[in-house]
């Protein structure tokens, strides 16, 4: 331990740099605009009551309000009634900065909708990838047929193509089909995971042939073998692939940015955050960082709970 102190020094320095933006993101999501501007308040901020200026501006008492409130404040002139009403409004509109930031994050934009969209898109991508890739992987690993080597060669070639790189022709195709601004546009380009086919094929190669022959003896069709014999053996590999796929598409910003324009109902979480940034003024740093925290948290928490599996999944591509 004493011999290793310099290693710890170096690694702790790295830790500070790695964690700095996370620290700032979470800290700003707790603080009031004033504290952010002046750079004070430590990590949590002082959490003094603050008044939401927009809320006050929206509920400015007008003539009718003053008339209505006259009974509650007998024997006062208009000006003082107005002042008392304003004080009431301010009291209603004041809250702790942390409540302000997080409630704004969910009310200024339909953040819940964005999160649900994120879940819908990532899950449907993963499920379709599996439905398409597993039978193909099984065929390539366990069935002997003319042209199999050619098909596998094609898979190896397609591994070279990053889907982001061919975004433009894909976008043209989807636009021609009238599919931009639909869930389909967000999902379709990712339905084929060549990497998934390759990975599952490598895995299926290790499954003993006897198992498959026994299933055939029982009269199972090849398709049934895929789902009822091969799938259960492949659960660990599938889990790793699921993590790989879900992380990539939850965090993806490039593709949704291209095919979804303006239609907020289809925004994925990163798009929602981007929009927030676009129309945010200075006083909205807090709510924006709250949004960012909400978007980043699910994967980080899942990662911390199941680190080994996550690292396995994300670095799958390194196992070739």
């Amino acid at each position: 331990m004493t011999r290793d102190w310099w290693k710890h020094m170096v690694l702790i320095l790295g830790t500070i740099i790695v964690l700095a933006p996370f620290y700032m993101m979470v800290s700003y999501s707790f603080k009031s605009p004033g504290e952010i501007d002046r750079g004070e308040g430590g990590f949590f901020g002082r959490q003094e009551m603050m008044i939401d200026p927009r809320c006050v501006a929206l509920r400015q008492p007008d003539r009718a309000d003053i008339e209505a409130a006259r009974t509650r404040f007998p024997s006062q002139d208009d000006a003082s009634v107005q002042a008392s009403l304003l004080a009431e409004t301010k009291a209603d509109c004041s809250m702790r900065p942390v409540v302000f930031n997080y409630s704004k994050a969910f009310t200024e934009a339909p953040l819940v909708r964005y999160l649900i969209n994120g879940v819908i898109v990532t899950l449907s991508i993963f499920l379709i990838q599996i439905v398409v890739a597993l039978p193909a992987a099984y065929a390539l690993a366990k069935l002997k047929f003319w042209g199999r080597d050619a098909v596998f060669g094609l898979v190896l070639f397609c591994l070279l193509i990053p889907v982001h790189a061919i975004a433009l022709p894909l976008y043209i195709g989807l636009a021609k089909l009238g599919l931009t601004n639909t869930y389909a546009a967000l999902v379709v380009p990712w339905t084929i995971s060549v990497f998934g086919i390759f990975l599952m094929r490598q895995f299926f190669m290790t499954v003993p042939d006897d198992l498959i022959d026994a299933a055939r003896m029982d009269g199972m069709s090849e398709l049934a073998i895929v789902w009822r014999v091969m799938l259960p053996t492949a659960i660990p590999a599938l889990l790793a692939f699921a993590i790989f796929s879900v992380v990539a598409h939850w965090n993806d910003y490039f593709w949704p940015r291209i095919v979804v324009t303006g239609n907020r109902d289809l925004f994925t979480p990163p798009l929602g955050l981007r929009e927030f940034k676009g129309d945010g003024d200075g006083s909205f740093f807090g709510p924006m960082m709250a949004t960012a925290t909400v978007i980043v948290t699910p994967l980080i928490v899942a990662f911390l709970l199941a680190q080994r599996r996550f690292i396995e999944g994300i670095t799958l591509s390194g196992m070739k």
Binding site: F145, G147, L160, A165, A167, P169, L273, T315
Partner: protein, 320 residues
């Protein structure tokens, strides 16, 4: 998928049955591969020789005019400079840091796992959210980075040229400064990617046999450096080749940070106008499909070239 009748599995004619089952199981994957990966490349290739725009009924063939523009206009010169600056900065540093961190973490044993977890966090986090967090950190007046730098004013740090300048005339604008902008983006790329490389190297390190170190020690390799040079480095050869390639491909695809910082124009004086952003801006925002396709083709060429070099190196490499 319903084409699979029971007789496919019949043992009497396994050859024929397997051929049919094989093709029909691989068919959906093959169709999608063709439609989503191969056809778009052909489309991009064809369109790169035209002046097509979405919404136009037809197009004219313009020969190699689009490519000619790519190599003569100053905008595209800036694009190549920005892209290669990014790749050449990010790849060596993130691979180097990844290897360094992996060696340190590995030598610390179980305690090292904490650092591994922390360094992997940026890989999991939504890059767009973290880019926005970094943007706040780098804010010229209220950002943490410049505030921290200002604290060094008045101490011996001021003897350094950078601090003398900064304390007198203000510290850099970072994202608004055309000399710094691309390097700030590089820094964030490294920040995000080195943990991924570290984990790949760690996987490589655990597969190095302990006996090799003992053997090297008996042969006279006493210092840590000698052991690294004679045993660790050669053993990590295949991992290194893979890490470098995947870092290159990821670096070529940088987009999120640049779009988040400069939604218009790709940085001060186009100093961060990378290829993915150019495809997005020209092809999708400005509807200049011809030129966008030409950039796409060049991009594919670079990426495929890199991967082919990697495969060649891996096959040629003599494993220990």
């Amino acid at each position: 998928m319903a084409v699979l009748d029971p007789c496919v599995a019949s043992i009497a004619k396994p050859k024929n049955g397997q051929a049919r089952a094989g093709w029909s199981l691989a068919f959906p994957a093959l169709t999608l591969m063709a439609l989503i990966l191969l056809v778009p490349i052909i489309v991009a290739c064809v369109l790169s020789f035209t002046n097509y725009s979405l919404g136009n009924p037809g197009f004219d063939w313009v020969g190699v005019q689009n490519y000619e523009r790519l190599f003569t206009r100053s905008t595209y010169e800036k694009m190549f400079v920005a892209t290669f600056t990014y790749v050449i900065t990010v790849v060596p540093i993130s691979v180097g840091l990844g290897l360094g961190a992996a060696l340190l973490v590995h030598s610390l044993g179980r305690i090292g796992d904490i650092y591994k977890t922390i360094y992997f966090l940026p890989v999991m986090a939504t890059l767009l959210a973290m880019a926005i967090a970094w943007e706040f950190m780098l804010h010229p007046t209220i950002g943490m980075v410049n505030r921290a730098l200002e604290m060094a004013c008045g101490t011996w740090f001021e003897a350094l040229h950078f601090f003398t300048n900064g304390c007198a005339k203000g510290f850099p604008l970072w994202l608004g400064d055309r000399d710094y902008a691309i390097y700030v983006v590089c820094f964030i790329g490294i920040w995000q990617g080195f943990g991924f490389n570290m984990v790949l190297f760690l996987a490589g390190l655990t597969s190095v046999h302990r006996e090799l170190y003992h053997a090297a020690e008996i042969d006279g390799a006493r210092s840590g450096w000698e052991r690294f040079r004679l045993v660790t480095w050669p053993a990590l050869g295949p991992t290194t080749v893979f890490v470098v390639t995947i870092s290159c491909i990821r670096a070529f695809q940088v987009f999120d940070t640049i779009e988040a910082f400069w939604p218009q124009g790709g940085g001060p004086n186009k100093s961060a106008y990378v290829m993915m952003f150019a495809i997005f801006e020209k092809g999708i925002q400005q509807n200049l499909i011809g030129i966008g396709s030409a950039i796409t083709m060049l991009f594919l060429l670079f990426v495929m070239f890199l991967t082919l070099i990697q495969r060649w190196l891996v096959e040629r490499k003599v494993h220990y």
